[in-house]
């Protein structure tokens, strides 16, 4: 059962990892990704906006896709919204599986898909009062497209890293 949260509050990776594996003896590895707010170009804060209702549904769908592709024992996705300061965490993805390949690959898949498939928008605030919306990046689309190609090969029955991990 995946844990999906969209929240203002910071998250605690140690507490979330402990909760993910508490009482279990079937987890061989936890893949983790923490997205942090960088202070590029005098950035003073990042303000994250989302589409309440659609956001949670979109993330659950992405998690369902990951669970269909890899044998996960548990999964946590926490995405913050509101005002985030440099050095603070923005997003946390944890994936637990019996084996490392499934944990690491599904974690990478989830963060790539969150970038392009979950309705969040970032606005940058700078020292001096300037602000600008972060533009979507072609590299993020390319990362999602790579997983889609992998999925298409899997459907054609070709061996892919994801299928090997599942086997």
């Amino acid at each position: 059962m995946a844990r999906v949260l969209v929240q203002d509050a910071p998250f605690d990776i140690a507490a979330e990892t402990a909760a993910l594996t508490a009482g279990r003896t079937d987890v061989g590895g936890v893949g983790s990704f923490v997205g942090l707010c960088r202070a590029d170009d005098g950035l003073s804060a990042l303000v994250l906006e989302h589409y309440p209702g659609m956001t949670e549904r979109a993330i659950k769908r992405i998690v369902d896709e990951a669970e269909a592709r890899w044998p996960l024992t548990a999964c946590t996705v926490i995405h913050r919204v509101g005002r985030i300061l440099p050095g603070e965490g923005i997003v946390l993805v944890l994936t637990a599986s019996a084996h490392r390949a499934a944990a690491l690959e599904s974690c990478a898949f989830l963060i790539d898909w969150l970038k392009t498939r979950a309705p969040f928008w970032k606005r940058e605030e700078f020292d001096g009062g300037a602000e600008r919306w972060v533009a979507a990046r072609a590299e993020d689309d390319a990362a999602t497209a790579r997983w889609e190609r992998d999925m298409a090969s899997a459907r054609r029955g070709q061996d892919t890293p994801a299928r090997q991990a599942k086997a």
Partner: protein, 83 residues
């Protein structure tokens, strides 16, 4: 029909959401955009470059040819940048 705006699309339109009753010939996302763009200068500015605006109908991403109906929730926003 409930229409929601997010990020810079919201800032340009000037409101976060509105109830609208488009005419009967507005049957899909593309014709709704054309109708909304003619409402105020803010709407026109938001939809000036339509390739930069994405849509969702009833909280699912939707293409310009996706149908829209009176009870739908339709949202407009820039390409997403989460993660």
């Amino acid at each position: 029909m409930r229409v929601l705006y997010f990020a810079w699309v919201r800032q340009k339109v000037g409101i976060a959401e509105e109830e609208v009753a488009p005419p009967a010939d507005v049957r899909d996302v593309a014709s709704l955009v054309a109708w909304l763009a003619a409402r105020t200068p803010g709407h026109a500015a938001a939809f000036a470059d339509r390739k930069q605006v994405r849509a969702a109908v009833n909280q699912d991403f939707a293409t310009p040819d996706h149908p829209v109906a009176a009870n739908d929730e339709v949202a407009f926003f820039p390409p997403v940048t989460g993660g």
